[in-house]
Structures are given as C-alpha cells and as structure tokens.
C-alpha cells in the first residue's frame, strides 16, 4: 500500500461484533450459474440440469456477504471451514445467508474470527450450514 489515500474502506478485526446476525440480500439460482460453475470446476458428473452443484451455494454466499450494508471484511486468509448439506437446492430457488460471529481471538498479525453461516432458501428453510475460520486484519495504526 503506497499511501493512506489508497487504502480501501474495510471492516477490520476491531469492528466485528460478536453475536450480531447479518442477513444478506438474496440471489436466484439459474441454469446460467450452474453452467458457469460447472465450467470452472470441470466436474464431469452428469446431473439433472436443474440440480445445483453442492458447492455452488457455498461459493455464492461468499459474494452475498459483499452486498451487506457494511464495509467488506479485511480478510487476510481463509483458514478453513466445516460445511454440511441440510437440504437440496434447485434452479429457481432464491438463497440468502445469515451469519453470526461466534468467537473472536486476537493474534499477533490480526485476529481470528469464527463465523457460523446458514444458507436459507425462499421458504426460510436452511439448506446448508457452515462454520468458517477467517484471519482478519487489525485496523492500521494511523
């Protein structure tokens, strides 16, 4: 970073509040999403054309977080996660995610955040649940 003027506005470790549910806008899953995603993965499994690949809602949920009315999280590294499917997702479904920071741990280089995220369909049913571990930057000293 060459100067403070270039620094993008971000949500730093200090700004993250524990226990506050963040609900994103929704996104409707289309055959175009499925085709693009299958092109990226190269998954050769033949599927029902309206079945959504299992990992696609998870990938889309990372972008849904960017549409929250807050500055984007200053993620330094995505460390890992546990994920499970609770229900099927089909083309035509509209999903959004609900996230909650359940733990914050300060580290020398930044801080670790544990986030629980549910991916929810248009009927309010949880279809996937994820527990993510993220390394987030501290606010730079002015």
């Amino acid at each position: 970073m060459s100067g403070a003027a270039l620094a993008p506005a971000q949500c730093f470790f200090e700004d993250v509040e524990k226990g506050v549910a963040l609900e994103t806008p929704g996104i409707t899953l289309t055959r175009a999403h499925v085709a693009l995603f299958t092109g990226v993965t190269g998954d050769t499994a033949l599927r029902d054309p309206d079945a959504v690949p299992e990992l696609l809602p998870l990938c889309l949920s990372s972008g849904l977080g960017w549409r929250l009315p807050r500055r984007p999280l200053a993620v330094l590294a995505f460390m890992g996660f546990e994920w499970r499917i609770v229900g099927a997702v089909r083309v035509g479904d509209t999903i959004h995610s609900v996230s909650l920071t359940v733990a914050k741990r300060s580290m020398r280089e930044g801080g670790v955040i544990i986030e629980e995220r549910r991916i929810v369909n248009q009927r309010g049913e949880t279809v996937q649940s994820v527990k993510l571990t993220l390394l987030v930057a501290r606010r730079p000293v002015a």
Partner: protein, 156 residues
C-alpha cells in the same frame, strides 16, 4: 447415474465395492488468471486478494491469489476425474483447511484416500468419507480435508 471423466466408460461403483484405504490420483490442472476472474464474477467475491494486482504486489503473497473456494471447486472437479464413479455419490459434508496460496500458473492435482464407510440416511445408501489433498507442482499441500458422500448400495 453419475459418470466421471477418465473412467466414464466404467460402470458406477456401489458402496460395497469401495474399501477403506483405496487411493486415487487425479489429473493435474493449471490455475489461470481467467479462472480467478470468472470465479470473482460468478461468486461476487471481489476481495483485493484476488482482483487487485497492484495492491497485492506489496502483500506477503506478492501477487493475486486464487479464492480459497475456487481451489476447492477445482479440487471437486479434479476429484471427479480421479475417483471412481460412485452411484449417486452426492457430496453431503466436508471439513476443509486452506494451507497455502494458489497462484496464477500453479498446477494442482488431488490425492484421495477412502478413509471410512458407515451406514447412511436409509437402508439403500451408505456414507463414504474421503481424505483429499490438493497438491501443487512443488508437492506442497495447499488445501486438505475430508469429504463425505452418500453412495448407493447395490440392490439385493
């Protein structure tokens, strides 16, 4: 019926035919700038880690890196070309760790090992757990974890 890339001429494998300890190696795939651009557009994740080459010059990585979930997605496709075609082998859960960056031009492949088998959601299906490692051209494990699949049992 699912069919998997290089082995798609073979009949699907049922739960009974998979055994703990079996190992598989996938083909390799070179991760390109285009993969990262498409994944950013598809997912909507435009983090500077993946999209701002100038910003990343001064980062610990020195350049843009692939989204962790892009590496996972590429891994899923590679594994489908390396592991046997499981009858209706739906991915149902995973535990995953990101160990190191994937940079533009890196070539990755997947090493898989069947780690466990147990009863599934009903009498007709079992659960298979697979340990998978995503390895780069220098032999470094960049991602690893365990995937769980629902696999059909052979009809009696």
């Amino acid at each position: 019926m699912l069919s998997f890339g290089l082995v798609d001429a073979q009949p699907p494998v049922f739960f009974e035919e998979l055994s703990v300890g079996q190992e598989f190696t996938s083909p390799g795939r070179t991760v390109t700038e285009a993969d990262i651009v498409i994944f950013a557009g598809l997912s909507g994740d435009y983090n500077v880690l993946h999209t701002d080459a100038e910003h990343m010059k001064s980062s610990i990585f020195g350049e843009r890196i692939a989204h962790g979930l892009l590496g996972l997605s590429i891994q899923q496709g590679l594994a489908s070309r390396g592991e046997p075609a499981a009858a209706h082998g739906v991915l149902s859960a995973l535990k995953w760790k990101f160990k190191g960056p994937i940079k533009i031009g890196d070539t990755v492949h997947v090493l898989s090992r069947i780690a466990g088998k147990r009863d599934g959601p009903d009498a007709g299906r079992g659960l298979v757990t697979v340990e998978r490692r995503l390895v780069n051209q220098r032999g470094e494990v960049v991602q690893e974890g365990e995937t769980e699949h629902v696999v059909e049992r052979r009809k009696p």
